[in-house]
Amino acid sequence: MNNSILILIEHLKDAIADISFEMLGIGRKIADSFNGSLHAVVLGKDINKFLPELGIADSIFVADDEKLEMASPETIADIIKSIIEIKGISITILGGTNTAAGVGPILSSKLKLPYLNFCKNIRVEGDNIIVTNQLFGGKILSDVKLDGMKGIISVNPGSFPSDAGKASKVVPVVEIDLSQIKIKNYFKKYIEPEAGDVDITKENVLVSVGRGIENADNLSLAEDLIGVLGGAISASRPVIDQGWLPLSRQVGKSGMTVKPKLYFALGISGAPEHVEGMKDSDCIVAINKDPAAPIFNVAHYGVCGDLLEIVPSLTEKLKAKKG
């Protein structure tokens, strides 16, 4: 067993995604506990600019080629496989995102290694690596032992501190030999989101609505509230899927990641895909009818009650205080 860990660095558009730093942080921790080495692999177009930020790794594997922009997961898996075979990597860590989707299963199938996803914790217990992953949308957790300390793990964004993975150090870079890799790329172009009227990632206050809002008519409650509180309306996926608000307002795994001063969650249950997008907000206040709603695990303040009753009264009181 080689005790070396490989991280697939994620980047979207022109920045390294935060998840990459989370993975580097936990990767470093695990590698250190075995005196092992930590490696990063970066693939894509114009990626050399990212290298200085990856100083926490012991070495970085790079392939900079325009054919690799949005390359198919099979290609990424093939490249990673070649590194694993050359370097003798034991554990590969990937991000649990739409960008990296597919790499884990394909790699697992090719290498006949276990693939564990939606992980929120990786820890060392004696000679074993135990992975805690979330099942059924986070309702159940399971601890799985990585047999022979070999495997592929995909990490749920927001599980680890990203600061632990940041270091600017100059680190050896290895060019990947792509000559034996059959590059498959089906990507044609990006489709930008419609110029939303509002960039929710820049707002200080977000009043966010979920299924608990019940219907589009009740959006007026949120609108009235931001009328006195300021800020903008955002939403969880179910509300966007119904078409009550545009895609630009979606918070979560498939939407935006936001960090406002105040995140006021109305009728949002707190499924992991949503929490991922707002967990770093300064102050999270949640109203939900269900006392067991997962949102209360991430909120700073919670109210178990009927938002349809509370919000209008809150707006009234705020108006009175202002005027």
């Binding site: 219907n215 589009a216 008519d217 119904q242």
Partner: protein
């Protein structure tokens, strides 16, 4: 003085009469035949059962004109129009027969003393009624009354007939006085003409009268006055069980797939359109129409008639478009709350609801209903309740109760209690259901529930048009109910009550299983002195009759008697009992989004009606959905703190504490 004995332009009167009669009969018969052919092309329906019920309806509503008295002013006048018409029609055929066949050894009708007397008195009464009707149409027409050309024609025609008869009698009276002709004598006394002039004028009036009737006869089937011929049959063939029981007795296989064009309705559905007199009573009563929505029951029937007229008279039936393309919008069909106020008000006993539901069945079959309704139907299909919660949650409202409520799936009980979805799952309503349980327990009632095995009763599922799902729910519930041992069934929700009572077949031998609403049971318990009231409430309150309890099933008194027993002074709202105004939740409306902006929701109108009562700050209801609808409306009408909504159980509970 034979009026037919004249010579017009060299032709003998009798021949002219024959020709005119032939022309009139030609148009009349031709049109009637076409209409009957249309009815023949519709789907069959068995409306030939319950003979006694049908005769009683005929007597009350055709001969007795009972529904006409439901609105002010016009009741008596129309009663007189009807009987006047019957009498004058009789007299007309008599005269026509005699006129056409001069050799018949019978007198004219006005040559028989007593008949003459009746004709004259009737004539005056009808004329007075005409005056009332015309003044009403000009100066205080009710909303939705169709001021059409047809209406002008009929009123003018009736006036002409009465005037010609009376004036004719007047001129006759100058020649032969008769004690049987009081009005004629009065008119005669003001006339001074020669005998020849009198005879000629009398004959002239007779001809004007006969020609007017012959014209009208030919005209009837081309106008809204078809209602004269169609409505007696409409009343005869109406089912008292509709719309409480929406089962259509037909051996047509397609009946469950609904209707999208006139050929897909049953002949009875189509007969409604021909019977409609366009009085507008249904529109006036409709909560959807009054809230500003597009739906108007009269218009629905009218549009179907339009389609029949436009496409029904050609030989082939192909190429008839779906009625939704240009006549009836899908949106308006979904606006119906199924409150049946339209049917309640209709003087010709039209059955608007089955027609609307048939079209809903078609739309559901095409999957053409809004997403929120689809979601609810899928929740009901999967979980057996409209809340989309696990069926294991249904009995959770009982968790805190001591002793535990009997499980009727395992133990025999006297009363099997079905609460319905809202009373069990809605967090606002569970405490009320608990109080009802407390009342039952304290009064020693032997009752039990089906716990998780109860499913949505299907009343509103059927009324939204998902007939297949209704059948599944009915079958599953029936199976479970039949497995249990009980004597009577109690329901909390009037919707559950309605379908269990009228649409479920719960016994194998055809006997009725006793279905009671909880207010009926509490009333009984009070009568049997099984409930003791420790404090009378001494307040004034008003009571809202739920549509499915009151108008549908006639249960008006038990809730009122309960309120009296607990010391509540009842102040009735203007629209009470059969005229109660719907809260707007029925027909699946509570599952729909409030998308179309309306003037005023039905529930808001009702709240304002209650709030306007002097010294009343409490409205009592007996249906879980009413609590939900009215509590919301209290807020949206700004009546918070002024009007409270409570269920009867809550008041009885307070009074028992």
């Amino acid at each position: 003085m034979d009026p037919v004995d004249v010579n017009i332009l060299g032709v003998q009167g009798v021949y002219i009469l024959w020709v005119l009669t032939a022309v009139s009969m030609f148009f009349f018969v031709r049109r009637i035949t076409k209409i009957i052919k249309i009815l023949n092309r519709a789907r069959p329906e068995n409306r030939f059962d319950n003979f006694k019920e049908r005769i009683v309806n005929f007597i009350l509503y055709v001969l007795g004109q009972k529904k006409l008295f439901g609105e002010r002013t016009i009741g008596l006048p129309h009663f007189l129009f009807f009987w006047g018409f019957v009498f004058y029609a009789g007299s007309f055929w008599w005269n026509l027969l005699r006129g056409l066949i001069p050799v018949l050894p019978i007198p004219y009708s006005d040559e028989v003393g007593i008949i003459t007397f009746a004709l004259e008195i009737m004539g005056v009464l009808v004329l007075l009624s005409i005056i009332v009707a015309v003044l009403r149409r000009i100066f205080f027409p009710p909303q939705h009354l169709q001021q059409s050309f047809d209406a002008v024609i009929i009123l003018s025609l009736i006036t002409i007939l009465m005037v010609t008869l009376l004036l004719g009698q007047g001129y006759k009276g100058t020649i032969e006085a008769s004690v049987w002709s009081p009005i004629g004598s009065i008119i005669a006394s003001g006339l001074s003409v020669s005998e020849n002039t009198a005879v000629d004028t009398f004959k002239a009036f007779w001809w004007i009268h006969i020609i007017s009737v012959l014209f009208f006869l030919g005209y009837i089937p081309y106008s809204k006055h078809m209602h004269l011929l169609a409505s007696p049959f409409n009343v005869l063939f109406r089912n008292n069980s509709q719309p409480a029981d929406l089962t259509i007795k037909s051996n047509s296989e397609d009946i469950g797939s609904g209707a999208s064009k006139w050929t897909e309705f049953t002949w009875k559905d189509l007969l409604n359109s021909f019977s409609c007199a366009e009085c507008g009573r249904c529109d006036r009563a409709c909560p959807a129409q009054n809230s500003g929505a597009v739906l108007a029951p009269r218009v629905i029937l009218h549009k179907i008639k339009e389609q029949m007229y436009e496409t029904g008279f050609n030989k082939n039936g192909n190429g008839i478009h779906e009625i939704f393309e240009d006549k009836i919008s899908k949106e308006e069909l979904w606006q119906c709350t199924t409150c049946m106020s339209c049917m309640q008000q209709c003087p010709v006993l039209n059955e608007h609801l089955p027609v609307i539901i048939s079209m809903r069945r078609f739309l559901i079959n095409q999957g053409e209903v809004e997403q929120t309704v689809q979601d609810v139907l899928q929740k009901i299909t999967r979980y057996g309740n409209s809340f989309g919660q696990s069926d294991r949650n249904r009995p959770k409202w009982t968790a805190a109760l001591e002793p535990k409520i009997k499980d009727a799936r395992k133990e025999e009980v006297e009363y099997l209690w079905l609460t319905g979805d809202y009373a069990a799952f809605d967090s606002r309503l569970q405490s009320i259901t608990q109080k009802t349980a407390y009342i039952f327990q304290k009064s020693g009632l032997d009752f039990g529930i089906l716990y998780e095995a109860e499913k949505n009763s299907g009343n509103d599922v059927r009324r939204i048009g998902e007939e297949g799902l209704f059948e599944v729910l009915r079958d599953k519930n029936t199976q479970q109910i039949k497995k249990s041992k009980f004597k009577k069934i109690i329901t909390t929700d009037p919707h559950t009550y309605n379908t269990l009572k009228n649409e479920y077949k719960l016994s194998d031998n055809g006997d009725d299983v006793s279905i009671r609403h909880y207010t009926e049971v509490i009333d009984e318990l009070i009568n049997e002195k099984k409930i003791t009231f420790n404090n009378k409430l001494n307040i004034k309150a008003t009571y809202h009759d739920p549509c499915y309890l009151g108008r549908y099933n006639g249960v008006y008194e038990p809730p009122r008697k309960i309120l009296k027993s607990i010391g509540v002074t009842l102040v009735e709202m203007p629209r009470n009992r059969a005229k109660s105004y719907c809260c707007g939740a029925g027909g699946g409306r509570i599952w729909m989004e409030d998308k179309t902006p309306v003037k005023e929701r039905p529930s808001e109108s009702r709240i304002r009606e209650a709030a306007a009562l002097k010294d009343v700050s409490l409205m009592v209801v007996a249906c879980p959905k009413d609590i939900v609808m009215f509590q919301d409306a209290v807020k949206t009408t700004g009546n918070e703190g002024k009007l409270e909504i409570k269920d009867i159980s809550e008041l009885v509970f307070e009074s028992m504490k």
